[in-house]
């Protein structure tokens, strides 16, 4: 058992898989000697060599495409994209190939790979470094999207993603990369994918969130608890496919739902969750579903980035409004 931050947990999980599965290769810009711009791969090249932990040329589409080629030929590549803002050249490869390869070859080929990227705002970064566009990948059939929100889940879910026989986009909330430490046992045990994690049980209202927003949401739940409002907080964890049974079970209990995400509202993953609950949980609802999200604007530069994002008070207000409905 060791105390580790979320990014330590990423590094530890990568090391475990590099150690135990010779098919695993980490590749990306600056992942080698430099250990990644956020140090997610720190020390891995020294430990596993420059073949297993490769610095690549600077071309994200290339990184994804090469990874797909490797995956199709029996390797398990773990490409890193430095920032979500630079992930878009991979979209062609991910949607046209990674998500389709198994299907279009009727299972003759598959694409076990994990495309890692830090995402989200709140670190005072320059332009293009703060977006949350997980919904782009959640919309791609055949691709899993996984977002951890604690060191323990970063470790367990990344192991699971690497071992998953299909492509996974693993997005790491960089604002909480080093925020907290947690006791995590480096035992190679994966956590289940495709399920939510209930971080707090409650009876009055269900709050669904993911990534760094779990912190704001849990704080809001604490604050509301002082007013005797009992919030159930669910970390979505696997953004696609969504474990809607857990959400519906919670909504059945509470009758109320607030969805919190950093990404812009329109066509965000929150819209999908709201739609699922409307389709399958309408008769359990006591009040309209509310979303607390980023605005449908270009992510402001960092002097205003926190005003863009959901905050504890925005969440608390949404919960109170929902309880009054």
């Amino acid at each position: 058992m060791a105390e580790m931050t979320l990014i330590d947990a990423v590094t530890t999980a990568l090391a475990w898989e590099l150690e135990h599965d010779p098919r695993v290769v980490v590749l990306g810009e600056d992942v080698g000697v430099n250990g990644g711009v956020f140090r997610a791969t720190a020390g891995l090249q020294a430990r596993f060599g420059a073949d297993r932990v490769q610095d690549t040329p600077l071309a994200e589409g290339m990184i994804a495409g090469v990874a797909i080629g490797m995956a199709a030929q029996g390797m398990i590549p773990i490409p890193e994209i430095q920032f979500m803002g630079f992930i878009y050249p991979t979209v062609d490869q991910m949607i046209n190939h990674a998500g389709r390869l198994r299907n279009r070859t009727r299972g003759r080929m598959s694409c076990p790979m994990v495309l890692r990227a830090p995402f989200g705002g709140g670190i005072h970064a320059p332009e293009h470094h703060s977006e949350s566009t997980e919904a782009l990948f959640a919309h791609m059939p055949g691709i899993r999207v996984v977002i951890p929100s604690s060191p323990a889940r970063a470790y367990g879910l990344l192991l699971a993603a690497i071992r998953d026989p299909d492509p996974v986009v693993f997005l790491e909330p960089k604002r909480i990369y080093r925020l907290n430490k947690q006791n995590v046992e480096d035992n190679g045990k994966a956590l289940p994918l495709d399920v939510c994690y209930t971080l707090r049980q409650g009876s009055d209202i269900t709050l669904v969130t993911w990534g760094a927003m779990t912190f704001e949401t849990l704080k809001a739940a604490d604050q509301l608890a002082r007013s005797n409002i009992s919030c159930e907080v669910i970390d979505l964890a696997t953004i696609s496919p969504i474990d809607y049974e857990t959400i519906l079970e919670s909504v059945e209990k509470t009758g109320r739902l607030v969805i919190v995400h950093e990404a812009a509202r329109t066509c965000g993953v929150g819209a999908e969750i709201a739609a699922i609950v409307a389709e399958k949980g309408l008769y359990d609802l006591n009040a309209p579903i509310r979303r607390v999200t980023g605005y449908d604007v270009v992510m402001p530069l960092f002097r205003r980035e926190m005003d863009y994002m959901p905050s504890v008070s925005k969440i608390v207000d949404a919960v109170r409004e929902t309880l009054q409905d």
Binding site: N103, T105, R108
Partner: protein, 362 residues
């Protein structure tokens, strides 16, 4: 000022359009049996291609991209490859795929709207057709990286057209392959047209082979209508790659004698005279003439070959036409290794509607 880097691009041809040797014939081609075998594959490809167009024209096949005129390049590159090398084709390399063991009925299934067309009985490790232009170059690089990391003496070969050389992925693939000396050969089938855009509007480069220069890898231009040249230079490139000396770009200059696809009408954008001229240069004429001049081929053998190939093609067409549609649930069953629960629900929904839910004829 001084010149710190310079380049030159070689061009190679062994058989001229009339079938006369224009250079010393390489060793492998001194065995007429080898050339006859290549010729058989080229004829087979052409007969198949012609049949596929006819199937499309008679409503038995969807849109089809003909490979007319590309036979020498296709067969030449495939003949150069080892069986356990990996081919990453675009969507027109039937000659190469057939040579490597893909069934005609599989190619027809693909263009006939059935995913099983990409589930080759063999070669199992080859990449399927690739429609997004030049993206397969990266897959070849990735495959080569896998071979390199595992220390396997295998190579990857990607094939894209002249149009694909404008794509970033084409350059990106050469670039990383060069940087890491990956065992991969990039083949550009320069058939002069990216649908309706002629090569002059695609690039200011005199050759496409010189696109290799920026990636720091060798590039060569060969006569893509000369099967001997294609095979020879791809063999050389593969040998080089297998020895750990890195990738090569081979530009095979040919001509797209057909429309871009059966849905296209090339007469809208190119002159008939140009096509007629190109037809004179096409690859079967010269190889047949060369073999005839060697005494290794004659009209009887030609007739027998056409007869045998026609039977072969007909049998595969029948196999294709007799293949029932996949069950509806097949669209779900290969999305993930294990079907996620949310898809089970959609799968049930789709199957409830059965075949009655519109759709068109296979």
């Amino acid at each position: 000022m001084e010149t710190i880097a310079d380049f030159e691009i070689q061009y190679s041809q062994f058989l001229d359009p009339s079938g006369k040797p224009s250079a010393d014939i390489p060793d492998f081609a001194r065995d007429s049996g080898t050339l006859v075998e290549m010729y058989r594959h080229m004829v087979r490809t052409r007969v198949f291609d012609n049949k596929a167009i006819n199937l499309q024209r008679t409503g038995k096949l969807g849109t089809y991209a003909s490979c007319l005129g590309h036979e020498a390049t296709h067969v030449g590159l495939a003949a150069a490859m080892h069986k356990d090398d990996v081919l990453a084709p675009s969507y027109r390399e039937y000659g190469a795929m057939l040579y490597r063991g893909v069934r005609m009925s599989e190619i027809l299934l693909y263009w006939g709207g059935d995913e099983r067309g990409s589930d080759f009985e063999g070669p199992k490790h080859d990449f399927p057709f690739c429609v997004p232009i030049a993206t397969q170059c990266l897959h070849a690089a990735g495959a080569a990286m896998a071979f390199q990391l595992r220390g396997e003496p295998r190579c990857a070969v990607s094939v894209n057209g002249d149009g694909g050389t404008s794509e970033g992925a084409f350059y990106e693939a050469m670039n990383i392959a060069g940087a890491r000396k990956l065992p991969v050969v990039f083949i550009v089938v320069n058939n002069k047209w990216a649908i309706s855009v002629p090569i002059e509007l695609q690039t200011a480069s005199k050759t496409l082979a010189q696109k290799a220069v920026a990636a720091g890898i060798p590039g060569i231009q060969v006569d893509g209508n000369d099967a001997i040249a294609v095979r020879h230079w791809v063999e050389r490139a593969l040998a080089r790659a297998r020895k750990g000396q890195g990738p090569t770009l081979v530009e095979a200059v040919t001509y797209r004698l057909s429309d871009h696809t059966t849905a296209d009408d090339a007469s809208r954008y190119r002159k008939k005279g140009e096509v007629d001229e190109a037809r004179r240069l096409e690859p079967l004429i010269r190889l047949r003439q060369y073999l005839t001049d060697l005494g290794a081929w004659d009209a009887t053998r030609e007739k027998e070959l056409l007869q045998a190939v026609a039977e072969d093609v007909d049998a595969e067409v029948q196999r294709y036409l007799n293949m029932p549609k996949q069950p509806i649930e097949a669209m779900f069953d290969y999305m993930y290794r294990e079907l996620p629960e949310f898809l089970e629900e959609q799968r049930d929904h789709a199957t409830q509607y059965g075949d009655s839910n519109g759709g068109h004829h296979g």
